[in-house]
Symmetry: C2
Subunit: 418 residues, 2 copies
Amino acid sequence: MSLHDEMLVMGDRAVVASRALAGLTSRKKNAILEAMANELDDRRTDIQAENVKDMQAGREAGLTDALLDRLELTDARIDAMIKGLRDVAVLKDPVGTKIARWMRPNGLEILKMRVPIGVIAIIYESRPNVTADATGLCFKTSNAVILRGGREAVYSNRIIADVLQSGGERKGLPPHSIQLVETTDRDAVRELVQMVGRVDLAIPRGGEGLINAVTEMARVPVIKHYKGVCHTYVDEAADLDMALNIAENAKCQRPGVCNAMETLLVHEKIAPEFLPRLGERMKKANVEVRGDEAARAILPDAVPATEEDWHAEYLDLILAIRVVPDTAHAIDHINHYGSHHSDAIVTASETAQKAFRQKVDSATVYINASTRFTDGAEFGMGAEIGISTDKLHARGPMGLEELTTYKYVILGEGQIRE
Amino acid sequence: MSLHDEMLVMGDRAVVASRALAGLTSRKKNAILEAMANELDDRRTDIQAENVKDMQAGREAGLTDALLDRLELTDARIDAMIKGLRDVAVLKDPVGTKIARWMRPNGLEILKMRVPIGVIAIIYESRPNVTADATGLCFKTSNAVILRGGREAVYSNRIIADVLQSGGERKGLPPHSIQLVETTDRDAVRELVQMVGRVDLAIPRGGEGLINAVTEMARVPVIKHYKGVCHTYVDEAADLDMALNIAENAKCQRPGVCNAMETLLVHEKIAPEFLPRLGERMKKANVEVRGDEAARAILPDAVPATEEDWHAEYLDLILAIRVVPDTAHAIDHINHYGSHHSDAIVTASETAQKAFRQKVDSATVYINASTRFTDGAEFGMGAEIGISTDKLHARGPMGLEELTTYKYVILGEGQIRE
């Protein structure tokens, strides 16, 4: 069978599974999640044996230590996968809830109901725990998944997907609810994201290259979890102690994640007072500071910032600083150079707050708080499949609700249109 | 300037306009809509003079009478465009409303706010009134539009877009809020739907060819307003008089629209009693009936239905009929052959109703009512830009709310992440 036909068969099976999944009660789904978790626990030795194969192949292929670390399934990581599935079981199931309900003058009752999306394709890179985490969230929302992991993790992904499917089947998981694309043929991704009518949504998770490649090839809808070039703007009316704490937290608390700050903007009136204090804090935290001319006039040790710095997602202890004449310029900078992810203003001025929240075109806009809070758990969603940097369907942290869509159910008593 | 660069400039201008549009109050937007309506009224002679050029060119190019009819801007059609803009002015503005609001234990207040999508590209075919109708809805929701109409209507579209923009500007419409792609170069559509970062959403409106071409080329999100292969399933527990009225209404009241019925499914137990009565009604209404073997055993005059009939969107006085053994088979037929638009069941059985509403994977599922109600006005939305047959972001009738997205605004008092 050609790769094309093989993928179509997989797509057809996923569609059949998705129809069966739509009929499961929340209670049944939770029992299946529990069964999946138990099976992961019972078969951890097998899982780790497969993972060793990936690790060996990775070492032979010369993967970096950082990549090998991401690939390894330690006991703690398997525990985390198990806990993840149990946590998802506890969350409220959005499927079948009413979003709205209204009556029309002709007596028709319109219900807007939450329903599963259908078949979701997840395309991801080396971390094999994504196989369990993404599956748990998609399954809880009654979606079938087709997983395509990185080639470095093929043994690990295969056994995790098998364990989840077979463990779940004992409690009534429909066949083919969880399928893994096992071939390492790169064309499989193309086939996958072009299966209009079989795949309802593709979610690429990984680096810029993967996301661009998927978007380029896709014919089905894609929701991107893209980079975070996040800003903190310290306005002239900022409480400077608050601004220092927020800036330090946004930059340093976990610099390698998408909601960490990359660029700090500061009002020119407050810069002479604020920047020296910020510079000291950054020095203590080993942060390399890069600045525009005005910033470097105050912080002479700063490296000159170039155009690339304003676009950069460092994911590291580096901070770009720019002095701006007013809030409007800060907003323009953010909309131009940012990635529409998470941006903060620190100010006591209601006028500045209002302009910022209204005009900054980002998924998440913070007033007097750190950008580090953009996260499903911090938002109270319980879990997230990622943070969407797209504008349609889901924006910002994507939890269970964002893995559903809706349909209208209309209850009549024989109404016809006049 | 190359077409590519020309389109990028247009995209940049739209982005700038969209930022300014996001700041307009509802009151101001309504005054602008009124000014647009007045300008259309004042300049109707000019508009009709340009329309005559399109009509002449159309006749010379040998357009069919049906196409020429769609192209013509009669007084009544200009009145309808004017009324459409005034009607939209009266509708509630969703932009800036709160979708949800909650507090986190750390005191952060999370607001989920409705915001404009940004820049919307509308790609449509010959009806020039779409230029005004789509613009009104997009503008009311503070979106900038880039319009690409059919080449047959280029004179009409150009003047309507000009009139709307210049009329609106008198009351403060930002420059370039309404832009029309004037070149007839087909590559312009490709450029338009590949402007990631400048165009946030593309909505193709027209025939299957146009929609497929746009989807194929697009790199930006597309919401499709595709065909309606709608079904009515008459269950064994149906009230037959109700079923006859609903079937006749769904088929005959306006056969050329997407929410009209194309295939009727009937339970085998009720078919011998129901089909002869339906056959008579269809005969009176001049409907050509096509049936499967079981249906033709009861209605011998029916044309034998082929596989293509189950896929067909006739948009005409033709009806395909299939006899099914039970509700499950009806649901399978609909999910397999339908277009996920609008499907109805007629039954008094709560079990059948429940299975149908849960398992039919369509935007709109009717219990004991005609599929003809799938329509923004009938749903009480006031107006619609179309009926989405996609699953993400918007499904079914798309009104003003569906032309918005959301952002999170988070209000803090200096919170940092531990």
